[in-house]
């Protein structure tokens, strides 16, 4: 464990790998630009943005935050168990983590269904254009993350030595990136306009 921590201190070996951290920073930058764009447009017509934001269900957003945070917690536990070579426990925690992700996607689906039923689609107004693009792009990341976790879980179950710690940390870091993005999207879209 100490050896691993010492390795992380090297600029080229952050936990999850240098390439994934470059991706994480670029993704955060991209979503950040989207949020800044949202705020710039909101300045032009504050009433429209406020009224549209009030139509969103903040309770769904808060519950989804808890789902993603719990999911991130479980995948962090899974990485810890993997390091301790407790592979069966690691798989169990991956299952819990995937459950959190699936609950997030399910509730997001309910929210999207309600929005479409109410006639709030991508072209309704600029707020909804941002809402659909930002949250939709985020959901795509969550789905990709779920596929990565499923492949990782299958690999560990089949052959415990099939994946290195680096592979697992990279998968977990991608999953945590979904948390990081959502933690910025949720307050900006659902709470502050």
């Amino acid at each position: 464990m100490t050896h691993t921590i010492n390795k992380y201190k090297n600029f080229f070996y952050p936990p999850g790998g240098i390439l994934l951290w470059i991706i994480i920073l670029i993704e955060l930058f991209t979503f950040g630009l989207g949020l800044v764009g949202l705020m710039l447009f909101a300045k032009e017509d504050p009433a429209l943005y406020h009224n549209s934001r009030m139509e969103l269900n903040a309770t769904y957003g808060a519950i989804n935050t808890v789902f993603l945070l719990a999911s991130g917690y479980f995948i962090a536990k899974a990485v810890l168990r993997f390091k301790q070579q407790l592979y069966e426990q690691a798989v169990r925690f991956i299952n819990f983590s995937m459950l959190g992700g699936l609950l997030f996607v399910g509730l997001k689906g309910v929210e999207y269904f309600e929005k479409i039923q109410a006639g709030h689609d991508l072209g309704s107004n600029m707020f909804y254009t941002f809402y659909w693009l930002l949250t939709g792009f985020h959901v795509v990341h969550v789905l990709v993350g779920l596929v990565i976790l499923a492949i990782m879980k299958r690999g560990i179950k089949k052959n415990k030595e099939a994946h290195s710690l680096d592979d697992f940390e990279a998968s977990a870091a991608f999953w945590h990136m979904c948390d990081l993005i959502w933690l910025l999207l949720f307050p900006t879209l659902y709470l502050i306009l």
Binding site: Y8, M39, M54, I192
Partner: protein, 83 residues
């Protein structure tokens, strides 16, 4: 990383989310203080996830500084540009 630290981090994240939910009704009148408070809590949660769950605390300082700068810039822009 240990179970104890992860448990503490998770409890802190849930409490901060609860605090955000408590603050949110006061944001309807557009109070700058409430808006800043909500974004501050979001930034704290981002750093807890990054430093504890993603173990960024062990990484080279350049990665820590890059994340700090990026997240603080995004949060500051949102607060300053809010209508």
């Amino acid at each position: 990383m240990s179970d104890k630290i992860l448990n503490k981090a998770f409890i802190a994240l849930i409490l901060l989310t609860g605090l955000t939910a408590l603050l949110s009704p006061f944001s309807i009148d557009g109070s700058t203080a409430v808006l800043t408070g909500i974004m501050f809590l979001a930034v704290v949660k981002v750093f807890i996830v990054a430093f504890q769950f993603m173990e960024l605390k062990y990484a080279h300082n350049a990665w820590k500084v890059a994340l700090w700068l990026l997240i603080l810039t995004i949060a500051a822009c949102i607060v300053l540009l809010a209508p």
